[in-house]
Amino acid sequence: MFNQIGVRLIFVVALTSLIIIGVFAYFNIKSQSSSLLSEVERNANQLGETVISSTRYDMLLNQRERIQQVITTIGEQPGIRNVRILNKVGIIIYSSDTTSINKMVDKKAESCYVCHAANQPLEKISITERTRIYRLHPDSSRVLGIIIPIYNEKSCWQAECHAHPKNQKVLGVLDVTISLAEVDKRIVKSELDIVIFAIVAIIAVGFSIGLFIKKWVSKPVKNLLYATKQVSEGNLNYSINASGKDEISKLGMSFNNMTKKLSEARMQLFQTDKMASLGRLAAGVAHEINNPLTGVLTYSSFLLKRTKDNPEFQEDLKVIVRETIRSREIVKSLLDFARQSVPKKNEADLVEIIDKAIAVLDKQLSLKKIKIIKQFDTNLPKITIDSNQIEQVFINLFVNAADAMEKNGGNIIVSAQQLSLSPFGIIQVKKATCRKRHSLIDNEYKIDGLPALKVKVISGGKEGIIHLDPVYGKHHNFFDLDFSIGKDAKFVCPECNTSIVNPDKVCPICGLPILDFEVEGQGIYEVCSSVNSNWEKWDFVDSTGLRPYIEVKVKDTGIGISKEDLPNIFDPFFSTKGQKGNGLGLAVIWGIIDNHNGTITVDSELNKGTTFTIRLPLTQQR
């Protein structure tokens, strides 16, 4: 559960808001209670002054009953626990609690402590020092005690009662204690309020964050995860519905793009493989069928010769001979297809070739009310191709496009432009040598149809040959060894046993040795010796940067190709035209483009049209 990114995010956000709200609440409560207390203090001070000034006249007249009455009255007010006046030796003279009158107060008591903490009692205390907050018992509510000294003044020592001598400074002390129960209750209440607010706020924040995380993060991530699973299970046609502009949507789009590219590459590879095996099959079948066909053809044509004077037989035998010759032609075309001659490449003008192909079909197309619209970039450079084969490609594509149109015609849009593509995964190492100029190309061992690079490995007393993919960036290497490559392994030229390990460098990914191949006239091709690392580098090719290609698109407004048919259209003998086609057209096109080191891809939408995209390298690698 906690491994989910959404849960983690919610947790982090909730924790952060808890801390922020907690700190805020702490300081808020603190300031609230201190302002409440200072309010109470101020009130208590005022109350004390009021008591002193309201009893002052009675004091001067020494009317003790009246003073006691005033103090009792005030003491009865709510919130006031006790009001008392002590004389200078600590005897309670007046008190709202009448039972404590005439009792001696302990100097160590909380209320006396202010002045009597030092040995000599203070004669003056500041306003802030007058108050103290304390508990009478540990479990009772808090009380606020205030002590106001009553100072001697002229009217006191001149009063008729002569109760106080002139040299006495402090006559006594007014001591008021106020219960803080009410205040404490309010503080607790506001604490409770803030805690409730904090909990509600955290839940709200967590909930809303969770909701949006689910919508913006969890769900798209889950979709992506599902998509990667689909792709890893081989369903390369799976695409994510990503339409937003945020990073995850962009990731989704880039994922879709990646799977599309992957499926195209896989198709191309698959196709090459299929073509090769089909070629072998066709050749074998052709040979096998040709022998029995020879029997049929020789005997039938023999009979045809022998029965010259029997017209009845002649007719029938002619049919047999004719049909057998037809079978011979079919087998021949099968062989022609399987062979797919090596392209004979020359510099040519692609636009001219396309124009030629259009000219061939001109009449046929105008009959069908099909218009060809040309959109060529100006100044397209010359390209090295087999003009005949490429013309064949365009004728086939145009015929297909025309066949895909309904009766009322349509448009075929041909566009061509130059573009640059990375050479990584395209360029092939054709000549590689060790330092003593021995060829390291193994013509006997082919990887994806191309001669591999061979290296002898000596490790732990055993030796064997490994084969590396000659295509830069493809890493389709074969380590067919019956031992594992140890740290002591030597990588040498199979002929002269010279090491081909680069002495100054190790693989930046895995730290294992790097193999150096000298490529004639094209610098040094470096590749990691490890089975697991894909590191390779070819400065010569990298420095040439992007390679120029010409991209031609043939777009029609025909009936389109269904999604089910789309992956199969380059298969030999696959045809949607029923009796009309032999299903070899696109397969042949594919073969031709592949022989030119180019690519052909198709996009189609039912009832809207089909677009074929052909990319041909401007120059062929020699």
Binding site: P292, L293, T294, G295, R328, K332
Partner: protein, 268 residues
């Protein structure tokens, strides 16, 4: 030594051997047969066959070994190769290695008979030369009177490079001599493609025979010699100059000329 058969047929399919035997009987050729390369070699070493007809793909070896054997041992037999795997490579290779002709399987009675007919005539021409120049004629080599700078595919067709990218194609004099009077020539059209080792023209001769010319080079026809269409005899009169067939743009000149025999070569 008993009388030799005219033809030795080597093929691993009994049906084909039977068919060839029957067909050869039509033109009164006597035929000996071999079902394996091994028996074929044994028979070749024992007796002289004027003509050997051999399949290329045999279970115990390939037919090209016969050609090597004949060259190495200086045997006078003429070899015609046939194959169900009738690739351009097989055809061109056969002719390059000294075969007189290449017959792709399946073939008709007429195709086989015309090839045998030419072989028979070739043999006769050779005999004649042998008698005419008994001293000069050493071994079995028969010179084709091809002009210099010409190159040919076997003994049948020649090519001459006029300039970069333009090649003339025609039929060798020896080939013309091995066929009957040419009555009609079937030619390809302008802009057609021809391929090395594959038939590019047909001579229709008397006796209902037709002879196919295997193209010496691949390419696109840019000009057809109209003169020979109207006057097929021109080929017989002047096979190397006026009697040319096509002017072509070669498709793969450098590669294909490797399989051609130059006029200076003493090879057949």
């Amino acid at each position: 030594m008993k009388k030799n058969a005219d033809i030795l047929v080597i093929d691993d399919e009994q049906v084909i051997i039977d068919a060839v035997v029957k067909i050869c009987a039509l033109d009164n050729y006597s035929v000996d047969t071999a079902l394996t390369m091994k028996t074929g070699f044994e028979k070749i070493s024992k007796s002289n066959y004027p003509i050997i007809l051999s399949d290329i793909m045999m279970p115990d070896g390939d037919g090209f070994e016969i050609l090597d054997e004949i060259r190495n041992k200086n045997i006078a037999s003429l070899v015609i190769m046939m194959s169900g795997y009738s690739t351009v490579e097989n055809a061109v290779n056969s002719l390059y290695k000294g075969a007189l002709d290449f017959i792709p399987k399946p073939f008709t009675v007429d195709e086989l008979l015309s090839s045998l007919f030419r072989a028979k005539n070739y043999q006769a021409i050779r005999e004649k030369q042998k008698q005419a120049y008994p001293k000069k004629f050493n071994g079995e080599v028969l010179y084709v009177t091809c002009p210099s700078k010409y190159a040919r595919l076997g003994y049948s067709a020649w090519m001459f490079q006029e300039r970069e990218g333009s090649v003339l194609i025609g039929v060798c004099d020896l080939f013309v001599k091995t066929v009957d009077q040419i009555q009609e020539i079937e030619l390809f059209n302008h802009d057609d493609e021809i391929a090395q080792g594959i038939s590019c023209a047909t001579f229709k001769c008397s006796n209902d025979r037709s002879h196919k010319i295997l193209a010496p080079l691949s390419g696109r026809i840019v000009e057809v010699n109209d003169k020979i269409k109207n006057n097929p005899n021109l080929i017989e009169k002047d096979p190397y100059f006026e009697g040319w067939l096509y002017r072509i743009i070669p498709a793969n000149f450098d590669y294909e000329t490797k399989y051609l025999i130059t006029s200076s070569s003493e090879k057949l």
